[in-house]
Amino acid sequence: MNKKQKKMLRRILIAAALMIALHFAVRALGDRIHEPVWFFLYLIPYLTVGYDILLKAGKGIRNRQVFDENFLMAVATIGAIAIALINRSGDYTEAIAVMLFYQVGELFQSYAVGKSRRNISALMDIRPDYANIERDGELEQVDPDEVEVGSVIVVRPGEKIPIDGVVIEGVSTLDTSALTGESIPREVRAEDEVISGCINLSGLLRLRTTKEFGESTVSRILDMVENATSRKSRSEAFISRFARVYTPAVCLSALALAVLPPLFFLLRGQSPDWGDWVYRALTFLVISCPCALVISIPLSFFAGIGGASREGVLVKGSNYLEALSKARTVAFDKTGTMTKGVFEVNGIHHSSMDNEKLLEIAAHAELFSTHPIALSIRRAWLEGAVFRDDGEPAEKTEHSGRVLDEARVSEVKEIGGNGITARVDGKQVAVGNAKLMNSLGVAYHDCHHVGTVVHVAIDGAYAGHLLISDLIKPTAKEALRALRAAGVTKTVMLTGDAKAVGEAVAKELGIDEVQAELLPDEKVAAVEALLGKKPEHSVLAFVGDGINDAPVLTRADVGVAMGALGSDAAIEAADVVLMDDDPKKIALAVRIAKKCMRIVYENIWFAIGVKLICLALGAVGIANMWLAIFADVGVMVLAVLNAIRALFTKNLR
């Protein structure tokens, strides 16, 4: 509790104690001490707990802000005291109690909001406080803001990486859980790029910074989360509008309730019962404060966004959380989203020699090529890929001792779009596609697997082919199942890849529709067509890896970029950013959004419902002021507690 809250608590306790003491004093001494002594005695606790409300109400009137809750509470309590005075009932406790409970409610609200604000900030406690710069052999701590791009910084074990950079020296493991929600540490060594916000676990790292602090991952994430609740959802806008209408409406009804029925009875010649009706009207005023609603809705969103960011799902605004909860159609990019986006040698078939020998020859023939296919062949060789006799990849060997020897290669000729011919170990080797084989007059075997086929011919004879394909992410299938369980009815894959490849992936994963061979701008058109076809009031989400699909991310109702921490354009264009590239996070994001929205609606219905019931009961005289204030504070407390539930996401994983 802060100072202000402590002071409030003291005032509440003193006033409550005084009120109880007076209650018993009246019982004991009621016949010996008479009015107006009791009145003045009761004024002490009333003013103790409520003087600031009265002052604020006065200021409000001076500033022409009549309908604020201070004014309402002031009128209601002063009215109640006035009725007690006029009726000579001596029952002042009611007014004091109303003021007391109102203040208890305000205190709780301010405490709960402050607490959850701190909780959520603690979740996102990834802001590094300093960076270590080496000067004359001594480490010096400086403000990360002052570190220039290209500086060398040192990160000791246990410290946070303050700025994005590249490792130039050292080997270590990094805890990335604050950024990605992924609990397995990541190993890094020289040349690896590292992002700020990770915690260095084991070894000393020397980094060269590649960005300024303000542009670094950690700053961007914090910025995004802190500003997220500024983009208001439709529910929030509704509540603001509702509150604006609700309070004046209830106040006018209160006025009508105080005046009209007594006049009606007066005209019919009956007793008008002014006191009774005015009391009912005052009860109305107590109920009229819209605080429970106004506080619990943004708090729910704030908690939901906070909980999501702990899971590595960054939502850029309450409105996107709301939209995500209504996602019925989800369109995916293929490469990088459902598949790893890394081409690997996934099979060697019809080989006339050892599979590994064929790989070695192909890797050497492709030694100088920069084509992605060549890269993947060389990597497969160097990283120790081995293949079973049926051509399927087996477990990689640890230390293969494989190298690429330039001396073994000569006469390299790149045949644009078809492949390469070269002399390897004195033999004439051709590596390339079917066209290359045709032009060389070599008979080749087609491959019935999906992927890119690289044929190899040695000295004019067919030596077999390598199958190169993109791997489907291991969690992709489960991710689609989870999405369906979360209410998504249609899944579409948009890919620039060949039709056969796209269809094979879709079939394997159970995706409903595939649109293949799309150019980037055709993807936008495809999403637009899907937008036209989607069910009413539902939302289309597009998930991409942010490479080449920024326009599509912008065009979809909700653009989700995954594993996009490195790509500025994607973070800029996307509405939701998944910090790692696990497709299961898409379903998790939808589930978090749904839970949050359920809580929002619960709070809306609950708060409005209880208020309306109390208004009705108050109008017919069943509910008194006690019940009214209990309803007001009670609803607020429950709604706030319910809102905080949105923070908990563990069981959604």
């Binding site: 604020k56 200021k59 409000g60 500033n63 802000q65 604020d68 809750e69 305000e106 609200q109 301010s110 909001v113 604000r117 959520i120 802190e226 500003n227 609740t229 500024s230 208001k232 603001s240 509150a243 819209p290 605080c291 106004v294 506080i295 943004p298 708090l299 704030f302």
Partner: protein, 72 residues
Amino acid sequence: MKKSYKIEVDCANCANKMEDAAKKTPGVKDAVVNFMALKMHVEFEDGADPKTVMPAVLKNCKKVEDDCEIYL
């Protein structure tokens, strides 16, 4: 031009009122109050100087909610 300011306000409804008051201040194109983050984002009209506009915003906010503060 857009700027954000740290604010101090106790209740959510008051934050809404501050937002309304800020929006109505001359020189302010749009204003959003983020109660949870205790921040006010103000978009100024072209040619408006935040140094002269913000005191007016603060004055208007004080009018609707006496207990608020904007850290300029």
